[in-house]
């Protein structure tokens, strides 16, 4: 690792500070989004709609932030739309009992279509700079969220109940728990965290562009799986993905002393690692036992 850093510093003049900052910028949305997914999946709701929630939140933050020129309003709109989509997922999977995968895919499609519709319709507004919060606040939020979730599941009543419902909704019901309500609360948290993730992506870019989350919701899902649905390992996985992602951005177009690794390799790396983990080569999968159960 040191060697790589030295190599970087000597050959291309990239400082360690730049790399750290870039890693933070790249990984924080992943962390927030993956932790959002953790709430959902720990309570037993499969969530492949993270991408859509994040995209919608980015769009709302950028456009409302530009229209109102008020950072609070912009961020609230971003979180708000992510919560709405999260609630939609709850209604569809819990009330209508639609398959979780179908609901997630449907929500991704709605978000993709909706955001593209908005950006094509309000072209002028899209060109304006939005009022935003400093991104450091989001970086902090990501780490605080991980710590908070760790504590929540370690020694609080809601944590225990989410954990129980995610593993066995039927027996939890017998113990007087209300799985529907617990999942609603969990999905609200998913909305908040994916909303923050989307807002950060908009903040990093300065404005919205179509499909700007570019599959990062799926990378977050990969981090969640690699992290075994636990907060700190999930954060670490997202951090690692962020590191490789930013490395790839920095290395683009530079000669690395004969090291010619194509950019697509770095981009595919998170997916490859997750695939290897799924194949069981990195230890046992420990998904919540009740994932997807009514």
């Amino acid at each position: 690792m040191d060697q790589i850093l030295n190599l970087l510093a000597s050959t291309s003049g990239i400082s360690v500070t730049t790399l750290i900052l870039s890693t933070l910028a790249y990984s924080s949305p992943l962390i927030l989004c993956a932790l959002g997914g953790l709430f959902s999946e720990r309570s037993g709701v499969i969530n492949i709609g993270l991408e859509g929630k994040m995209l919608a939140a980015a769009c709302a933050t950028a456009f409302v932030g530009a229209a109102s020129q008020n950072a609070v309003v912009g961020l609230s709109a971003g979180i708000g739309i992510a919560i709405v989509l999260s609630l939609l997922h709850w209604i569809l999977t819990q009330v209508y009992q639609i398959d979780h995968i179908i609901s997630g895919m449907g929500i991704n499609a709605l978000a993709l279509g909706g955001t593209s519709l908005v950006s094509k319709t309000f072209v002028e507004l899209g060109g304006k700079d939005a009022a935003i919060f400093p991104r450091e606040i989001y970086y902090l939020a990501a780490w605080v969220a991980a710590a908070g979730i760790w504590y929540l599941f370690r020694s609080t009543r809601p944590g225990l109940r989410i954990f129980a419902v995610g593993n066995d909704p039927d027996k939890s019901r017998q113990m007087g728990l209300k799985p529907l309500r617990i999942r609603l609360q969990s999905l609200l948290m998913t909305g908040v965290l994916t909303g923050l993730a989307g807002a950060l992506i908009a903040t990093n870019a300065g404005r919205f562009s179509d499909e700007m989350t570019s599959g990062r919701g799926y990378i977050a899902l990969a981090a969640l799986i690699l992290g075994g649905w636990k907060p700190w390992p999930t954060l670490l996985a997202a951090l690692a993905f962020g590191f490789f992602g930013s490395l790839q951005l920095i290395l683009q177009g530079r000669d690395l002393g004969g090291l010619a690794v194509p950019g697509e390799f770095w981009q595919a790396l998170p997916y490859l690692i997750t695939l290897i983990a799924l194949a069981g080569m990195l230890g046992k999968n420990r998904a919540p036992a009740g994932l997807g159960q009514p």
Binding site: I48, Y96, I102, M105, G113, G114, S116, L117, Y271
Partner: protein
Amino acid sequence: MKLLGWRQILLALAGFGLIVAALLIAGAVPAEAIQTVVERALTRPAGWRNIIKEATPLLLLGCSVFIALKVGLFNIGADGQFVIGAVCSAVVALNVPAPINIPLAILAGIVGGCLWAYPVGLIKAYRGGHEVITTIMLNNIAGFLTFYLVSGALKDPNSQQPSTAYISDLSKLPNIIESGPLRINIAIIIAFFVVIATWFFLKKTTVGYEIAATGENPNVAKFSGINVNRIMIRTMTASGGIAGLAGALQVLAYEHRFYGNFSPGYGFDALGVALLAGGNPLGILASGTLFATIAESTNVLSRTGVPKGLSFILLGVLVIVFAAFRYRKEANRGSDS
């Protein structure tokens, strides 16, 4: 049996409202939009040509997702298998001389798709890794891999974009009808027969019966002497093969080359086609045509200034509402007693 519950009706109304709202936001008047669609897409041979072209991959990918669904697996990865099948087929079509070029190129597409799906079944059967996650990962890897290939090794030096060269006329699948703007390629006939074959295979053969038993309840299937792991892996591989075939036909019949970001998001459409088909594979003929018509309609609308995002909203609503009705039907079937 009551098919309609108030909840389902409510959801359908909400979905309808969302579509109308989307049209209004986009600045289109619904009545005018419908008129445009009817005039330019539904009643003109050029529109029919596009619908048929669009329906070819949708029918095949619908079959691909359908048989995987039947064995209990969500093949979200039809997209990746399609792209890999397409690139394999393009490579063969560009390098192998006639007359074996076309059969070999089709075969290459099928094999590519199979190979891209095989690990999914393997990981599911022996490691319990969820096929949705595996296929999402494989889709992205397929995207990056093929993009890398067509911007490097396979790139046509004369092209500005990441794309292969065009295949020769000898490698193209012929049109069976060419009258004015209407063109019908033999690919749609192949797709049609694959749907029929899927129906026969699933509904009429013993293996189809075993696939259905595995999909309904893998444990019961195991107790009934069915080799569940083997049947899951094989069905998933076959599903990938059909998706690969779709990729091959797309190259040989319509696009005549392979380029970066080859699939316009067919994975989701395919899932929708398979779901809307209901319990019978023949339903794919209807749902595939419907999705192709929607695609062509939104294409036409986009030329009048209505953003293409509308099509995703339309399909999203359609899939969600249909899924809600389908659940209702199943719940009803259970309470017959």
